[in-house]
Amino acid sequence: MVTKSDTESIQVEIVPNRYLMPATAQSLLNEIYENGGIIRIMIHGPNLPRSVPYGPGKGAPIEENRNLLIEVGGQAFELSVNVGRIRLELESEKYFDGLKAACERALPFSFQIRRGKFFHTHPTLTDYAKFGKVEDTRILGLIDPKANKNRLGHIV
């Protein structure tokens, strides 16, 4: 019988029941960061464009979506989505309970947290078209295939 290693990485998805305001997103991400054990993390949600993308108002600036700066683990970055889902890979199962507790501390409303397989392991055709041969496979599954190259996800 093969014994499973207790240091095998696990993948987790956190889905809050509401979309997060930048302040709450910052607080949640900091709690997750302090819990440690993160191999990679992706935040997901609807796009927040900087100007009206189409229609009669095309090109009008959307000031509310600009300069949404948050600071996580001492590093500042700009949010380009409204955070609604977080997927992450942890070094091992021992960080899972701490992660759950971190979510409970940071989120003022209910949320779902589940383990599963959320990042793909082989490059897709889009990955190949965008990046060619992928050397670091950790990037797989972190990227919005529709995003422009200059707006691809940040890796915390």
Binding site: R18, P46, I62, N65, G84
Partner: protein, 255 residues
């Protein structure tokens, strides 16, 4: 005895609300000024003249037509206004009106309008001064809620997403904002062009109130299939099955 139209079956709160929307016997919940409605629609500046596509009907010398003699034109048609629109989007989280019911409301209660129903939004087109009057009626009534329904001329996809932290429907263009006083303010017109000043739309409904007034069947609110496990269908479902059968088998022609 005068005939009273029977609009929709069912004894659930959703059925009752759907009947209310169709009949037009709506409760007035707020009073948004006409100028604010006009500014939100964004077709003309408040107080500006109406642009026209043809001279007033009285000056045109209409042909001798019995139908034209029977049907009085709407004020907008009589004046020769342009055709303009207002479009609403309702959240799936107990939004006050589902698109089909907005269309039923328009078809039954708004003379000279052209409603269009899509999955998450509903547009009504009519002559400019008519659509302004209809839109005011809608926004003042229980068919509108500042948090769960919005006038969105484009980019409507927040209707199918989770709500934001402050309980409002997500809007990519940030056309409304939640004020510190608890009121929702319209800061842009329906296509996302910033307004000169913030327009107060009032306080959003509480969750309980929204559940009471919604026209959406939801499994976590009023389920279309009755209580889970009970399998006691509402009359609305039976009527729907009946209509579906007639439509499928005989194309509404049972002879």
């Amino acid at each position: 005895m005068a005939y009273t139209p029977q609009y929709y079956p069912g004894s659930t709160s959703v059925g009752i609300n759907r009947r209310k929307h169709m009949s037009g016997n709506l409760e007035k919940l707020r009073d948004i000024s006409e100028a604010d409605i006009v500014a939100t629609m964004g077709h003309r500046a408040p107080g500006a003249d109406y642009a026209s596509t043809h001279p007033p009907l009285k000056e045109m010398g209409e042909p001798d037509c019995p139908i034209r003699q029977i049907v009085a034109p709407t004020p907008g048609a009589a004046a020769g206004d342009r055709v303009r629109y207002s479009q609403f989007s309702d959240s799936y989280y107990f939004g006050p009106s589902v698109p089909y019911w907005r269309s039923y409301y328009g078809s039954i209660n708004c003379k000279g309008c052209d409603p269009g129903t899509l999955s998450g939004r509903q547009i009504i087109e009519a002559r400019e001064r008519d659509i302004e009057a209809y839109t005011k009626k809608i926004m003042d009534s229980e068919m509108f809620d500042p948090a769960l329904a919005q006038m969105k001329g484009c980019t409507v996809h927040g209707h199918s997403l989770r709500l934001q932290e402050n309980g409002t429907m997500f809007d990519m263009l940030a056309r409304t904002e939640m004020g510190k006083d608890g009121n929702v303010y319209q800061v842009k017109d329906q296509v996302g062009i910033p307004l000169d000043k913030k327009l107060n739309l009032g306080k959003p409904m509480s969750e309980a109130e929204a559940k009471k007034r919604t026209t959406i069947f939801r499994v976590d609110g009023v389920s279309m299939h009755g209580k889970v496990g009970a399998r006691k269908y509402d009359e609305a479902v039976e009527a729907l099955h009946h209509m579906w059968e007639l439509r499928s088998k005989w194309g509404y022609r049972p002879e």
